[in-house]
């Protein structure tokens, strides 16, 4: 029954495959008019599958930076509108490809990879890399606050940046990594070939199948028509 049950997030491998599909197709076909239609269709398709939050986040980025690059492209190519549209298509593909990735949780990706018997070192590394980003942001904020408190000066000065920002940050990261490693070992995690179980298995759903099939159909239509 889980196959037909509604879920908010994509099956992780389906999300990766769809990101690849959108990105590669967008980059390859950026000069074709159909590419824009495909990207608009993909936008609607992603919104239908509950990715509208990610789309709303990506939209301003696309509008501002994509627009700026399109303008640059327009003027550098001798006021060629097609060149600007191609640039917009490329940016659109990149921004849309990021959206399915936003819907994946780090733990879901790890579970999925564990189910596929990916080496434990790889799954652990990917999990930490993905889930560490918010921690890193917090640490950067703390180091900058410490700089301000001490009156260390501007971060734009290379010497100050190196001495008062970079070294304290890396030192803190080393401390965190030692604590985290100890914590993982205490919980019985090993890198050996010992048996393990996946707490909650990731299952491919009918929505995942419909989603990826819809994207493939869009690619085929855009390429053929």
């Amino acid at each position: 029954m889980t196959f037909f049950k509604y879920k908010k997030t994509f099956y992780p491998l389906v999300a990766i495959a769809s990101a690849l599909l959108i990105m590669v197709f967008g980059l390859v076909m950026s000069r074709k008019a159909n590419c824009a239609y495909f990207l608009i269709g993909a936008f609607v398709w992603l919104a239908l599958f509950g990715c509208w939050k990610g789309l709303l986040r990506a939209l301003p980025l696309f509008a501002i930076i994509g627009g700026a690059f399109a303008l640059i492209s327009y003027y550098t190519s001798g006021k060629n509108a097609q060149s600007a549209i191609a640039m917009l298509n490329r940016f659109g593909a990149v921004c849309l490809a990021v959206v399915p990735g936003m819907s994946i949780q780090a733990v879901a990706m790890t579970r999925n990879l564990s189910q596929l018997h990916t080496p434990r070192a790889a799954t652990l590394g990917i999990l930490i890399t993905l889930s560490f980003v918010p921690v890193l942001r917090g640490e950067i904020k703390r180091v900058r606050e410490a700089m301000r408190t001490r009156g260390a000066g501007s971060i734009l000065n290379p010497k100050i940046f190196y001495r008062a920002f970079l070294i304290p940050l890396v030192t803190r990261l080393v401390d965190i990594s030692d604590t985290l490693a100890l914590s993982i070992e205490t919980r019985g995690f090993t890198l050996g070939k010992s048996k393990y179980t996946v707490y909650k298995r990731e299952v491919i759903n009918v929505f995942d199948v419909v989603y990826i099939l819809g994207l493939i159909a869009g690619v085929v239509l855009a390429a053929v028509l």
Binding site: L20, V28, M29, G101, I128, L136, I167, S177, L180, A181
Partner: protein, 250 residues
């Protein structure tokens, strides 16, 4: 009667044994000597093996080239990869700028500084490869061709190990860090040639990238990328040395 038969049988057997001993005396002696030599040899080899095992156990395994990864190594490499990922988040913007080598120029510092710190803490072969594996899953969403960075890491590591034989030297880490990003230039060049030409709008896809038609410019940009990566690697080495001095990088 039975007892008599048994006695006779025993006597016959004794006689046959004596006969065999007499006939094959020399042969038996040779066999025994051969066995003794073999046993002695085995004992010797066992003793030698035991000595070897004991000596290996007593000596720290830091001398060995290929050592097993520990959890703390993986955790540190993953954390340092997160730093590379966060600072390299400008990649989706750079991939669309039509300037040859712009990705490598823009990301050279980040993709050399942090990997070098990682390699200087985890001085084991394939530390760079592991960092590439960790980051590649996120590069799929940013710019899929950059997933080939795994191949670049492997090539950089092989070259470094062929030259330095290990990561004991700080400069081995610097070399690997310096080669890491510039090696993506030929890969991306091939990617642009293969994929961008599908539309058929231009003969050479790379022509749309500013500076790609001029050989001098290509060489110049490549040298600039190597220089940027070298600077990043050296900064990484200096940071790692400072941490080592502070007792943080054990």
């Amino acid at each position: 009667m039975n007892e008599e038969e048994k006695v006779i049988q025993a006597a016959d057997e004794q006689a046959s044994v004596v006969e065999k001993q007499g006939a094959g005396e020399k042969k038996d002696e040779d066999l025994v000597i051969a066995e003794l030599i073999q046993v002695a040899g085995e004992q010797g080899s066992v003793e030698a093996k035991q000595e070897k095992i004991e000596s290996v156990a007593l000596v720290d395994d830091s001398d060995r080239l290929f050592r097993k990864y520990k959890i703390k190594d993986i955790v540190f490499l993953a954390i340092i990869t997160a730093c590379t990922l966060v600072t390299g988040a400008i990649m989706p913007l750079l991939v669309n700028a039509p300037v040859f080598g712009i990705i490598q120029l823009g990301l050279g510092i980040q993709f050399s500084l942090f990997p070098v710190i990682g390699m200087m803490k985890v001085r084991k072969p394939f530390a760079l490869l592991l960092q590439s594996v960790f980051i590649s899953i996120f590069l799929v969403f940013m710019f899929p061709p950059m997933v080939f960075i795994i191949v670049c890491a492997l090539v950089a590591e092989v070259i470094t190990l062929l030259i330095f034989r290990s990561y004991k030297s700080d400069w081995a880490c610097v070399l690997a860090g310096t080669l890491y990003m510039p090696l993506t230039i030929p890969l991306l060049f091939m990617y642009y040639r293969c994929f961008y030409t599908v539309t058929g709008d231009e003969k050479s896809a790379v022509s749309m990238f500013i500076g790609s038609q001029n050989v001098g410019a290509v060489i110049g940009i490549t040298i600039a990328v190597i220089a940027v990566c070298f600077i990043g690697s050296v900064i990484g080495m200096l940071i790692a040395r400072e941490l080592k001095k502070a007792g943080k990088l054990k």
